[in-house]
């Protein structure tokens, strides 16, 4: 056992540190911040789903906000109309969205990547108005209020002994989100390392060659769509819980763009990428909102415009710059920096011995 631990590569330790950090984090931050970080984790789940689709299988979806909406509304409707326990609705919403995604993947097979991007973009734009229509079910423009659950006594007790304060429902939702995120990231990690991941990468890099190697192209591509939608559905369901409210305006087309920004910034086809990308994509608009008005020398009108336009401008500039200069995103940059550091520390010997991992695939 000890030998195995000693032989573990440094990135395993990194994973342990990150997990421990996220478990302990709410004990040192306010309940409000915990709610924000919960939403960032939820973004990470959705972005991981998008990452599996775009990074692994090479199919571009600009409509993942629509899948999130489906997950969120499934849960909200089950709770509101059928009085179900919210926690039970999360897997239901995830599976339902996964099935819809799988079915969506079937016609998507026939489309070139360009047409798929176009159709999913149109879907993202239309989603808010589609939600408004069955007003009896979805609450129309008003949306549905989601009651946030109280933490169970055991969790509450443990939290109280650690911090001396009572656990709020925001903090409880943080832990639910963290649990789902850990589970789904672990699943994604397994998926990428084993047969499906290899098959999907082979398809992405050369469909004809993959088919010639006996890979079931249609099967794996629709599977990727289904899994991706499953992630988005989970994220949507949790998002409704975390914000306490679902409405058509929760899921504008800009949400889909935000998810794509997260996936691209973090690094496509990587496991830590979605987490970094989510933290970035979620906090950028919030932070820019808080930063701008505090500079008193900026006139009010400019400050409010900056608040509205700032995130869009920076998202846009980043998307362009990263695609041109660093197509592997933050993770790619970190990896490159780490390798260079390593090479300098150990000299060139390791590279000849083949210890340096091959460059990750670009999109």
């Amino acid at each position: 056992m000890m030998n195995r631990l000693r032989g573990a590569p440094p990135r395993y330790w990194l994973v342990v540190i990150v997990v421990v950090f996220f478990i302990g984090f709410p004990t040192v931050i306010s309940s409000f911040l915990a709610s924000e970080w919960a939403q960032a984790l939820i973004f990470a789940i959705a972005i991981m789903g998008l990452n599996i689709l775009v990074g692994l299988s090479g199919q571009l979806s600009l409509g993942h906000g629509a899948f999130m909406a489906l997950g969120a509304y499934t849960s909200a409707i089950l709770v509101h109309h059928y009085k179900m326990d919210y926690l039970l609705t999360i897997p239901i919403a995830a599976v339902l969205t996964g099935i819809v995604g799988f079915l969506f993947g079937v016609p998507a097979l026939r489309l070139s990547p360009l047409y798929l991007a176009l159709a999913t973009f149109a879907l993202a734009v239309v989603t808010p108005s589609l939600i408004k229509r069955p007003a009896g079910l979805t609450g129309g423009v008003q949306g549905i209020l989601v009651l946030q659950p109280d933490p169970p006594p055991i969790a509450s007790d443990i939290f109280a002994t650690l911090t001396g304060t009572v656990m709020t429902s925001d903090q409880w939702i943080y832990y639910i989100s963290l649990f789902c995120a850990l589970l789904l990231f672990w699943l994604a990690w397994n998926l990428t390392r084993h047969r499906p991941g290899r098959a999907l990468r082979a398809i992405r890099d050369g469909e004809v060659a993959a088919a010639a190697s006996g890979i079931n192209i249609a099967g794996y591509k629709t599977l990727a769509f289904g899994v991706s939608a499953f992630y988005a559905g989970t994220a949507g369901s949790l998002f409704g819980l975390a914000t306490g409210y679902v409405s058509p305006d929760t899921f504008p087309v800009s949400l889909s763009i935000q998810l794509l920004v997260g996936a691209v910034v973090g690094g496509l086809a990587s496991i830590p990428g979605p987490l970094l990308g989510a933290i970035f994509a979620y906090f950028l608009p919030i932070e820019s909102n808080q930063w701008v008005p505090s500079q008193s020398w900026i006139p009010d009108q400019i400050a409010s415009t900056l608040k509205n336009a700032g995130p869009a401008v920076s998202y846009g500039v980043l998307l362009i710059l990263i695609m041109i200069f660093a197509p592997n995103g933050l993770v790619g940059l970190i990896r490159r920096g780490y390798e260079q550091l390593n090479r300098r520390l150990r000299g060139a010997g390791d590279r000849e011995a083949g210890h340096v991992p091959p460059d990750p695939q670009t999109v």
Binding site: P107, V126, T305, L318, L319
Partner: protein, 293 residues
């Protein structure tokens, strides 16, 4: 019957607007096999420029061509600065870059001009004329005339001039054109400029109807996608026919189908895209794509 005829004329007018934007999409698709997701936002920005020119006291009919020239220059600048470094990148990369461009331009327009919707002047009177008992507004007629002229001009440029021939050659056979001394990259830039100018027409035409604000083109671009897909995404003629058909469809569906009104018209656009892609992905005028192994 009279109402039906009016809906048809209105549909053709709005269809002409879609056709201009769809034609812009087709021009760029033909140049580099890419759907430009920023086309609508580029048109929106050009429309803001037109409004700024008009507000400075320029007459509408001077501001209009001046805006087209500026849009043309802007399109070339975008191609040189943003697209050229990644010209040979996979289509996924290019699509994400045009999306970034769309987000960036949207934010810039909001930053410079604000998010308050503004009214945009129309040079045509809102009176109607009586044509055999059908009242047709001068606005609709004017929009149809302007769109028609622009589409005709693009047709003549591409089919009857040397520049047009060179552009088409560079798009279809870049290698052979390069061997014949064509500066392919600059021809692509020219394509972007032309598309930008043609798209700007749609923005200027639709602004008096919708009110000008940074998200004005978000729905129009969906209809333009639908038009381009319906017509066959590589066919300029298809873009025009597709635009008019989409305009007619959403106008008539909005008027006569129960429950389809207001923002659900947008769902009709989505439905057109999905049905065409599933039933006949090449559209009305497109050629079946062959894939080289």
């Amino acid at each position: 019957m009279q109402e039906f005829a009016q809906q048809v004329v209105g549909g053709i007018a709005i269809g002409g607007i879609f056709a201009s934007l769809a034609l812009a999409l087709v021009l760029i698709y033909n140049a580099m096999g890419l759907v430009n997701f920023a086309q609508g936002e580029m048109a929106m920005l050009a429309t803001f420029v037109a409004l700024a020119l008009i507000n400075r006291g320029m007459s509408y009919w001077i501001a209009f061509p001046a805006t087209l020239v500026l849009a043309f220059a802007g399109g070339i600048a975008i191609q040189r600065l943003v697209i050229r470094p990644v010209e040979r990148a996979p289509v996924l990369t290019l699509v994400i870059i045009t999306l970034g461009l769309a987000t960036l331009i949207n934010g810039l327009a909001g930053f410079i001009f604000g998010y308050v919707p503004r009214s945009f002047p129309s040079p045509f009177s809102s009176d109607s004329i009586d044509v055999f008992g059908v009242f047709i507004s001068w606005r609709d007629l004017g929009v149809i005339a302007v769109s028609g002229l622009v589409l005709l001009a693009v047709y003549l440029l591409l089919q009857r001039t040397t520049v047009g021939l060179t552009m088409r050659a560079a798009a279809h056979h870049p290698e052979a054109s390069r061997l014949l001394g064509v500066q392919v990259s600059w021809m692509l830039a020219l394509g972007w400029g032309l598309a930008s100018a043609v798209g700007a027409v749609s923005g200027i035409m639709v602004a008096p109807i919708l009110l000008l604000e940074p998200n004005m083109m978000q729905s129009i671009i969906i209809y333009a996608f639908a038009a381009a897909v319906l017509g066959g995404i590589e066919s300029p003629l298809g873009a025009v026919v597709g635009g008019i058909l989409v305009g007619l469809t959403i106008n008539l569906a909005g008027a006569y189908l129960p429950g389809v009104g207001g923002d659900l018209q947008l769902a009709v656009g989505l439905a057109i895209i999905v049905v065409v892609l599933l039933v006949r992905p090449t559209g009305l005028f497109g050629r079946a794509a062959t894939r080289r192994v």
